[in-house]
């Protein structure tokens, strides 16, 4: 199945991001052109500092580009107002962060509820937690969960509203290999069962083997796009 047959979800053109640090300017992105398609699982690979997070944040409407355009379906994100971006994040995107960013004062279920309460057609918090295999820890606080479990709560929180796209910034970055695998499985389940377009950032090449496509970034450029003919299930991945 050729990727081009599918509907294009994101279209980015000549995307640049410059951080002005006063004395120096940091070019985090230098003209990125990119298309992401419906239902695919893409891994963004690249060394630390290559601009992966910056790209993901712009796609997710958390940050804005210095120049260039991003289109989400028919909508121009680069022109969007703060209000439109909020709307976009609220109904279309799910985020998973490297450091989970759970709200410490809320239990696993409540951390998910915080999102389902403002979504349009969410699944229940229990359902979402079941998807990531956390039925048993529903009433635990973040502090009572392991790193991998916290990350799975974060995934449940991100997918509970049935987002169109799921953006994950180094979801296994803080985890060991076996815990990481469980998290990746959860991501794959979501991608397959819900058909959510999923972008996973990593600097770990091994993880790329579970992707439909692998996009490699270096120094703010896309240096290579690889189509994975043979997707490995996460359980077979080791690093």
């Amino acid at each position: 199945m050729a990727a081009t047959d599918r509907q294009c979800v994101f279209h980015a053109a000549e995307l640049s991001k410059v951080y002005d640090m006063g004395e120096v300017q940091v070019h985090a992105l230098r003209g990125v052109n990119l298309e992401l398609y419906d239902k695919e699982l893409v891994v963004l690979l690249g060394p630390s500092g290559s601009g992966k997070s910056t790209l993901l944040n712009i796609l997710g409407g958390l940050d804005t580009a210095s120049s260039g355009t991003v289109r989400y379906h028919e909508r121009e994100l680069t022109q969007a107002t703060e209000k439109e971006l909020t709307h976009y994040r609220r109904y279309h995107v799910g985020f998973v962060f490297q450091f989970y960013n759970l709200i410490p004062s809320l239990t696993a279920r409540e951390n998910v509820s915080i999102v389902t309460e403002i979504a349009r057609d969410p699944m229940s918090a229990e359902q979402a937690l079941a998807l990531v295999d956390l039925q048993g820890r529903i009433d635990h606080f973040p502090a009572q969960l392991s790193g991998g479990e916290q990350q799975r709560v974060a995934i449940a929180r991100a997918i509970a509203k049935r987002p169109q796209v799921l953006l994950c910034d180094e979801p296994t970055g803080a985890l060991d290999s076996s815990t990481g695998v469980v998290v990746l499985e959860a991501l794959q389940t979501v991608n397959q069962q819900l058909g959510t377009t999923t972008v996973v950032i990593t600097h770990n090449a091994a993880i790329a083997e579970m992707a439909d496509r692998v996009i490699i970034l270096a120094d703010g450029h896309i240096v290579e796009v690889k189509q994975n003919s043979h997707k490995k299930p996460p359980t077979e991945i080791v690093w």
Binding site: D63, H87, R90, N101, I103, S113, I114, A143
Partner: protein, 799 residues
Amino acid sequence: MRALDIKLWRELWHLRGQAAAIALVIVGGVAVCIMSLSTLDTLVQTRDSYYRDYRLGDLFVSLKRAPNHLQQQIEQLPGVAEVETRVVAAVSLQLTGSDEPATGLLTSIPDHSDARLNRLYIRSGRLADGRRDNELVVSDAFAEANKLQINDTVVAVINGKHKRLTIVGIALSPEYIYEIAPGAIVPDYKRYGVMWMARTPLSTAYDMEGAFNDLVLKLQPGASGDDMIDRLDALLKRYGGRGAYDRDDQLSNRFLHEEFVQLRNMAVMFPVIFLSVAAFLLNVVVSRLISTERQQIAVLKAFGYRNAAVGWHYAQLVLLITGFGILGGYALGIWLARGLSELYMDYYRFPFLLYQFSPLVFIAVAAITVSVAMLATLRAVRAAASLPPAQAMREQSPENFRLFWLERAGLLRILSPSGRMILRHMARRPLKTLSSICGLACACGIMMVGNFQMDAIDTMVYMQFSVAQRDDVKVSFTEPVSSAALYSLKSLPGVAYVEGVREVPVQLRYQHRSYRTSLQGIARDAQLQKVLDADLQPVGLPESGLLLPERLASILGAKPGDMLTVEVLEGDRQSYQVPLKAMTKQFLGVSAYMDLQALNRLMNEGESLSSALIKLGPFESMDSSQGFDAQQASTVYRRLREMPAVAGISVRQSLIDSFYETLAKSMLTFTFINTLLGGVIAFGVVYNTVRIMLSERGRELASLRVLGYSHNEVAYILLGELALLTLLAIPLGFLLGAYLSRLMVDQMQTDLYRVPLVLEPDTFAMSALVVLVAALISGLMMWHRLGKLDLVEVLKTRE
């Protein structure tokens, strides 16, 4: 409950320590407002309704003697609503079991009915019956001070005649809420009291049958008091009228008015200062509390929560804390206001208290507090929300790590690494450092405002009763006497030295302004009474011309060189033009001064004295009262009281005592409570500062622990910063405190007394101590918390 609401309550619970400290600051600020304003409102409303219900007159006049039928003539005057004529007599009393001199004012009440004006409130017993000639009603304050009860008897000396009277009633009068001897500055209930007898027996005893010597008048609504005063003065001149006056010059009302003005100024100043400080702190604390939440704000935003929703969430958190603070402040304020009003009752003799808790005050205070809190929240949430969530979610340390100037100058090389960390941290966040310092300085400054008043009052008393007035006893005569009268005083065993004074009741006029006071003629070589200049040095009296206290000169708008009109309110009631020569410094009262001979000359009288100042002692000398015991003193008092020419005796020490007992006590209680609330605020501030430091840097410190720093080494960094902040804040607090005290003092000027700005080392020490102790306690709590830092949590979620 929605997850966001659950988060709200859980976080409130989690923040309870800090929330309580913030609420404490609000409690302090709100309680001061409620207490001060409600106490004032209560006293004012009570006074007004007392005046109304017990029919206090509008105009008052005393005269030598007028026939009773003159009353009808006065009633006919246009504008007069009601007239009450009375017989008023000076009385000196012999109380069983006491040698202390007591004098009083005996006023007649109608024989068989209630008075029409200036009615009495009977606390116990009944009114005196006109058919019996030995019944006396005494004022409640006098009875209380002298432990007098119904059916007790006293011997009164009326018009030189001894008369045994039985107390049948204990009463209060709206005319004597502030029961003070004429010429005195403070009430002395033990030695001066007002009392009442039925008209017929009093007239008989005082040789006033068919006549009256005092008149109270109620005006018809809209009638002009000034016109009526002129008419009365014209009418009563031939009866020896001493000048009619309105409520503004009525002694009790005037003192009360002055006190209320002062109370009002204090009742406004304290809340303004406290609430501003509390508001400032609330602002600082709330913004910093919320900025520690910026990652959570970013997460909420990343999931599509709108700014308004996030803002409202935090606003609710702050509203809850503020709400608890306001409610606590209300409760504490009401409780304190009740206590304080009751305390004032000891001093102002009201028969009842009408507690006033105006909803307006409560609403206004809440509105101010809530708006400040909301504004601070809004600012902080806006600041957190204006960052793109992507940035907010990074660790909040885009701080530019630079060597700051001290370091560049190489000055810090001598410091340990921890010491350098402290300084760098402070220099790196100058705004936060500054806001912490300002907060702590406010805490220190606010303590001084209440604290300094004790020393100020001591200074006031010292200047008045040791520097300006050096006599032990002051004797006032029933009529002016010649200086020969001093010899008979001097010859009393136990009297070491005597000096005469001429006191004349006068109305001073300059342009359209006038003021009723007493003009004191003091001998040029006077030893027992000194007039002080602006530098509080005794000055000689000029050969002629007036000396006025600065306060009085400014009331009249006169300056040295101006010609004043002195209208004498006794005898022939002549007017004279006298130049104002110089101004004096005087903390208590506002009398005018003149050289004794010049005054006698001006009044066209020979050597004439109206009172005598006495120094007690075994030898004839000026300063020999040491070694003179109370027993011997009371013998002197008794001899003095038995002299027919003596109208009143006042004892300096008892004036001082009663000053502390009454005026100083009520004022100091008021300021003491404010000091306590200031302490509450101070503690809240310090504790908050510490908690914020801890929550802002908890992760960093935990990382240091992970790196192998010991508990104490980590604590040193934070506690060292706290110590440095506190030390920097205290001098700043002193400056602020001195400034606020100055503001306070300026607002506390009254005709009764002017509190000087006296900032003694103990005031500074006390304020600094409160801040230091608060810092120490908070520091200990922080040290304890640092021991429980969750290192695992740090490792689990961060690099």
